[in-house]
């Protein structure tokens, strides 16, 4: 068996591939922002809310984390229309990814919140802070810092997992690649380039997330500043 690689055809279709990659990035960032916002609220209520709410959120997290993402997407895209909720493929993909990410992020944030020493929260109470104020001024920052690496990894997983939304016809990188390889019969070349693009996006976002970590947490570190004086 001799296979002659023909990458020329891939370059001809590069604009389509880039468009797919751009949608992958947009979906991932959108789902990260929405999912994170939801997760912060849920994580707060999960640790500081009334018992009933805490149980409900725990159930939500377990359901999301213990069912396949593809099935969650199918429910949103194929089953909800029966209840009169109809979404475009891209909207359904964004909603599905956000919900999925919020489940994982809630659990990650919860572990961060629980890692904040109890004495600091008690100190907040003794200063007359409300629960909301304790969360905002005492818990949020160190909790986020503790779980930042886990969150960053989860973002990369979210981006790579977004390839699944091709199944509901959202034309992101994997869907575009599938279409191109099935019409050109150059499966190896197209999947190779798509893999390289995913790798570049994953490594690129890791670099950016590390830079963000430094910018937010390392740059103004009161302890280090105190020592270096």
């Amino acid at each position: 068996m001799k296979y002659v690689f023909q990458f020329g055809i891939v370059w001809d279709h590069l604009p389509q591939l880039l468009e797919g990659a751009w949608l992958t990035l947009r979906l991932s960032l959108g789902a990260f922002a929405l999912g994170f916002a939801v997760a912060v609220m849920l994580a707060f209520l999960r640790t500081a809310g009334p018992r009933g709410v805490r149980t409900a959120i725990a159930a939500y997290v377990e359901i999301i984390r213990n069912t396949p993402f593809l099935v969650q997407l199918f429910i949103i895209y194929f089953s909800l229309p029966a209840l009169g909720i109809r979404m475009e493929a891209i909207t359904a993909a964004l909603v599905g990814m956000s919900i999925n990410f919020s489940g994982y992020a809630t659990e990650i944030l919860r572990s961060g919140i629980e890692a904040v020493p109890k004495s600091q929260i008690e100190a907040g109470h003794s200063l007359g802070f409300t629960r909301m104020e304790i969360f905002r001024h005492i818990v949020a920052f160190p909790a986020l810092r503790t779980v930042y690496p886990a969150l960053a990894s989860q973002f990369v997983l979210l981006m790579l997992g977004s390839s699944v939304v091709a199944a509901i016809s959202a034309e992101e990188l994997t869907a575009v690649t599938n279409s191109l390889q099935s019409t050109t019969f150059r499966a190896f070349e197209f999947y190779f380039v798509a893999t390289a693009m995913y790798l570049a996006m994953a490594l690129g976002s890791r670099v950016l997330l590390n830079a963000l970590y430094w910018f937010v947490f390392e740059r103004r570190q009161p302890l280090r500043e105190a020592w270096s004086r």
Partner: protein, 281 residues
């Protein structure tokens, strides 16, 4: 009970393993023997078939209604029935050579089978490597959709969402006739395309007439109907280049069975659709 289930599980697992192994060795053979017409025999392939009393035909069993595995895991379907009829008319024993869809032509060229009867549509590309008999069946690609959608022809697809499955005949033909404003929505498998049509995520979808019928039958509430026919592909038996004796027999065979209504009968039985008029070749 538990133990029995385990035993059955092991048996199934073992069988799957053996099948995989067999498939791997078979495909290796396909690549190993690249000489066309491996055993030419004294007077050509037809003579050899009659002498050995054995006809080897490709069997692709993952394409309902053409080729499937029945409840007992035996090959069945319209193309298998066609192969049985051919062996019967030749007065020889039938040996089915199981192949995957992409292997249909390689298995024939490698000499593992004498004839390929596996819903091979007649195309220029294939005609460059094998010789086709006259068609014995037809496969129509239709645009299907719920009753309420007004689509009578290709122009009516303007502004509508049309579901298609990647790497299929419909993907190769529908985009060419669809107006610019139609949005073509691609799915990876036919099941997803059907689901999108039934749940109303697309206005209509391109698929084979059989697929449209089966989705309509299973979802009577959706009131799926065929809007129009995009193209009709004819499929035929294929033989190795140079096997003119066998090809001539197949010509005669198709002629006679068309006349006797045997082909239409097989087609109707497996597809529940009437066979269209088959053009001569």
């Amino acid at each position: 009970m538990k133990r029995r289930e385990m035993l059955i599980g092991t048996a199934i697992g073992g069988a799957a393993g053996v099948a995989t192994l067999a498939a791997i060795t078979q495909s290796n053979q396909a690549f190993a023997q690249t000489t066309p017409g491996a055993q030419p025999g004294a007077g050509g392939t037809l003579d050899r078939i009659i002498k050995e009393k054995k006809l080897r035909v490709t069997a692709e069993v993952t394409s309902p209604p053409f080729g499937i595995l029945d409840k007992n895991n035996q090959p069945d379907g319209s193309e298998i029935a066609t192969s049985r009829q051919l062996a019967k008319d030749l007065g020889v024993e039938l040996e089915l050579v199981q192949v995957t869809a992409p292997q249909r032509i390689p298995a024939l060229l490698a000499g593992r089978a004498d004839v390929a009867i596996s819903s091979l549509s007649i195309t220029f590309d294939r005609a460059k490597t094998v010789m086709f008999a006259p068609p014995h069946g037809a496969l129509s690609i239709v645009i299907a959709g719920p009753k309420g959608k007004q689509i009578r022809n290709a122009e009516d697809m303007a502004g509508k969402k049309i579901g298609l499955t990647r790497a299929t005949l419909e993907e190769a033909t529908v985009p060419a006739i669809a107006p610019k404003s139609a949005s073509l929505v691609m799915f990876d498998d036919i099941a997803a395309t059907m689901q999108a049509m039934v749940s109303g995520q697309v206005d209509a979808a391109g698929m084979s007439a059989f697929a449209a019928k089966s989705v309509g039958d299973r979802n009577p509430k959706a009131e799926i109907e065929n809007k129009f026919t995009v193209t009709t592909a004819y499929y035929a038996a294929a033989v190795r280049p140079g096997d003119f004796d066998l090809l001539q027999f197949l010509r005669t065979w198709v002629f006679l069975n068309k006349q006797k209504g045997v082909l239409a009968e097989i087609y109707q039985k497996y597809t529940q659709v009437a066979l269209v008029d088959l053009p001569a070749m």
